[in-house]
């Protein structure tokens, strides 16, 4: 496949960026999108040019690091995948592909396609945990009876990999799908209920402080989420906050 790539290039956080065109040829349809980016970078390095900076880690679709906005969609046109699991067979020979970083005021660009998602870490630190004494007498979690449906729904929420596609996709740059998933995975389980009120209050307060927008229920995040996190988690977070505030 021969392709034209339009890629956002930005030297560093304080520089002004721009879209730059690149031609790339002999790309196999079996390559992943990141492998195609690797080929481009090798060509750029061999020409003495600066390679395109982009986040990646596991390349198995579970770490949530790869974060490109491809042809106007988070992680590109495929559903239920991260960018590393997007394959070039989703594109046609001669295509022009636009590649941009996640865009949100709370996700500033570090360089090229890499953005700073530490706002998610700070939201997690605000309450996305349970306080357990691990001195040696900790009760086995499997000894606590939990209804199958609650366990399954909590597990579904816990599959969120914190990639930020929800924020990138949302027209309001809202982080409510992420925070909703994190609140839900604990709220549904007995271990999480002890600190439930403080957790939701603190996590929502941190989310607002980071400058994420307000959810307007378009549902775009649910469609683009590589892990299929449900909008139900946002509704559950809303209920949890109402309950905690009364």
């Amino acid at each position: 496949m021969n392709l034209t790539l339009k890629i956002w290039r930005q030297k560093d956080a304080s520089s002004k960026g721009q879209m730059v065109d690149y031609k790339i040829s002999d790309i196999s349809e079996h390559m992943s999108f990141l492998e195609m980016m690797d080929v481009l970078n090798e060509e750029l390095i061999s020409k003495g040019e600066e390679p395109v900076a982009f986040d990646h880690d596991c390349r198995e679709g579970i770490c949530g690091m790869c974060s490109m906005y491809i042809n106007g969609e988070a992680h590109g046109p495929d559903r239920g995948v991260t960018t590393c699991q997007l394959h070039m067979r989703m594109f046609k020979d001669g295509d022009t592909i636009t590649i941009e970083p996640w865009r949100a005021a709370a996700f500033p660009v570090i360089k090229d396609l890499a953005v700073d998602r530490s706002a998610f870490d700070r939201i997690q630190h605000a309450g996305g945990y349970i306080s357990v004494n691990t001195s040696g007498n900790t009760q086995d979690a499997n000894a606590i009876p939990i209804a199958k449906e609650a366990a399954d729904t909590a597990m579904d929420a816990a599959t969120c990999i914190g990639c930020g596609a929800c924020v990138a996709t949302c027209k309001n740059s809202s982080a409510m799908l992420f925070v909703g998933a994190k609140v839900s995975q604990y709220a549904l389980l007995p271990q999480g209920q002890v600190e439930a009120a403080d957790r939701v209050k603190n996590m929502v307060a941190q989310m607002d402080l980071e400058g994420f927008g307000n959810c307007t229920n378009t549902g775009a995040c649910e469609v683009e989420c590589p892990k299929g996190i449900s909008l139900d988690n946002i509704a559950r977070m809303n209920r949890e906050l109402m309950k905690a505030s009364i």
């Binding site: 949100a104 309001n172 994420f212 959810c215 683009e224 909008l231």
Partner: protein, 224 residues
């Protein structure tokens, strides 16, 4: 609790609560207007009751005005906050791939409805306030019209085709606003399962309410 309404989620919930009130109001407004097609006498009686009943005039009407003003002021505040949260924006963004046009453009359908409310107030509400509260005439009658004046005034407004077109366009946008707003309000208050159960009701509501108002405007235009 005051902290709750200052949070992003609290603002969403307050938008939804005002929306619930406005959606109930639309239902009763349409029900009364529909009477104008079937029975001018009954429409006059009900209009006179609504226009002179102290509970409606001094309790429900201020709540309604508060709900309308609150809904659009909060809508603007949220839109501005969301724009600020957006950052630089994309060179290419395919919103149609994951969401409906009307869910992404609530601000535009809302602004069209706001412009319509201004016209609607000039047409009906301001003259009514002038007659009752400034001139002090609570009789519901006017010289040259037998019985109550409400039906005659309503029909007279829809003689002008430009006004009818403006009303029809506004109702189409009202339908688009409701197409997202109805289920969105349930989601915002945390009623996700109710949102799914009422999806078809929402579609029916967002089509039938505007269609009813459009029918009434056209009916009076062609039957005056």
């Amino acid at each position: 609790m005051s902290g709750f309404f200052k949070s992003s989620i609290g603002r969403k919930v307050s938008m939804a609560l005002s929306a619930f009130f406005l959606m109930i109001f639309l239902l009763q407004h349409l029900a009364i207007n529909t009477l104008s097609v079937f029975s001018p006498e009954l429409f006059n009686e009900v209009s006179h009751f609504m226009g002179t009943n102290p509970l409606v005039q001094f309790a429900l009407q201020p709540v309604l005005i508060f709900a309308v003003v609150f809904h659009f002021v909060m809508g603007f505040i949220l839109e501005l906050k969301n724009k600020k949260a957006n950052g630089a924006g994309y060179a290419k963004n395919n919103g149609a791939a994951n969401s409906t046009w009307f869910s992404r453009n609530m601000i535009w359908s809302g602004l069209t409805i706001l412009a319509f409310i201004a016209l609607h107030f000039i047409d009906f509400w301001f003259p009514e306030i002038n007659t009752k509260f400034i001139q002090g005439d609570w009789s519901g009658t006017v010289q040259g019209v037998e019985g109550y004046r409400y039906h005659e005034e309503l029909v007279h407004k829809f003689v002008n085709p430009a006004r009818v077109i403006a009303y029809v366009v506004a109702f189409v946008f009202l339908g688009l606003h409701l197409a997202h707003g109805f289920t969105s309000a349930f989601q915002s208050v945390g009623a996700a399962s109710l949102r799914k159960k009422l999806e078809k009701v929402g579609v029916a509501y967002s089509i039938l309410i505007p269609l009813g108002f459009i029918f009434i405007a056209l009916y009076h235009h062609f039957n005056h």
